[in-house]
Symmetry: C2
Subunit: 212 residues, 2 copies
């Protein structure tokens, strides 16, 4: 269902085994998860700027060398952090519980998708925006492709007609980190307002008035 | 109606007078218009890359020194070219003939606005995209402010309710040079398709089905 893009987006997490080299590999995976967890906690508590190699090492209770061995550099760490968030979001909308995952109706899933993405932008917007500076990654990156395919599929389920690819791109454009950070920081819009705006847009585009 | 932003967006073109320093000033204005016309012709015939100081001078039949005196550098020239296009677009939607200008209904004006902007992106997208790399100019620049105010006003006229500022920003996000150039160049979408997508989006958002 999500060829290419999705496989690249999802990290190759090997199934952990009990012995020998697999046990080592298992340690590496656990280690990596531990470090990303530490970095995520730092971002949400103190913002992206607080994520230094030192701070992550301290938080995770490992040596700084371990962090460097695992991610190479701070920008490698930030990129892995984003991949991790994307991976989690993808898992949530593909196989997670409703309303983000299957089981809810398509409009509710679209609304939940935007709200979930806005939450990522709020926490990791600076890293996302740095990635978005490259037009190829901004619009053509694997994570974007998966999101686009997902939004197109949901739009189709709502019965929307016409050029769904363009419509999906229009919707995704409103969730871009550059725009959302500008709305939050320069226009001082609360994220809740931006999320409500997303819901309004989805309802207008799909012809689904609010239940309330 | 367009405080601040609009005044900054519109160039300070002095009213030409017949004598003395005013005549000189009048020459300068005419000169500038001549050079921008030459540059515009070059862009539309051979693309933005063809616009060099030499080529503009040759095309306008003046010395290269004149072009440098007027614009300082190639990037100064490209910026002036953009200002010029923005100025023309603003003139067209504020006081020009319908459907872009007053006289048409608000939905038709919104549709015409997007089509006109897409035409600018098609011709001058590279320059626009270079400007968009700065988030402040991308979302906060004077030209953007004028467009935003215009779109909000038209949305209000259509009877659209809710958070019109966010809705206007969502609409404008789909016309950004970075996205549009990606659609044209990487996805090989014809500009007509993108323009039709804009019309669809406007009709959905304003609840105005196509007449056809």
């Amino acid at each position: 269902m999500f060829p290419g893009g999705y496989d690249r987006g999802v990290q190759n997490t090997p199934i952990p085994m009990a012995d020998g080299p697999d046990a080592e590999r298992c340690d590496a995976v656990r280690n990596r998860a531990l470090l990303l967890e530490a970095a995520t906690a730092l971002v949400s508590e103190r913002g992206a700027d607080a994520v230094t190699m030192d701070a992550v090492a301290e938080r995770a209770g490992v040596g700084k060398g371990t962090v460097f061995r695992r991610f190479g550099s701070r920008s490698g760490l930030m990129q892995s952090l984003l991949d991790h968030s994307e991976h989690e979001l993808q898992g949530a909308f593909l196989t997670g519980p409703p309303p983000l995952g299957p089981g809810a109706d398509a409009v509710a899933r679209l609304i939940a998708f935007g709200r979930a993405r806005l939450a990522i932008v709020e926490l990791q917007g600076d890293t996302l925006r740095a990635v978005e500076v490259s037009p190829e990654l901004r619009f053509g990156g694997p994570a974007r492709q998966v999101s686009l395919t997902h939004v197109v599929a949901l739009l189709r389920q709502t019965g929307a007609a016409g050029d769904l690819e363009l419509l999906a791109q229009a919707l995704l454009a409103t969730l871009e980190a550059g725009l959302v950070l500008y709305q939050i920081r320069e226009l001082h819009m609360p994220v809740d307002r931006i999320a409500d705006g997303w819901e309004t847009l989805v309802r207008l585009v799909t012809g689904t008035p609010s239940a309330g």
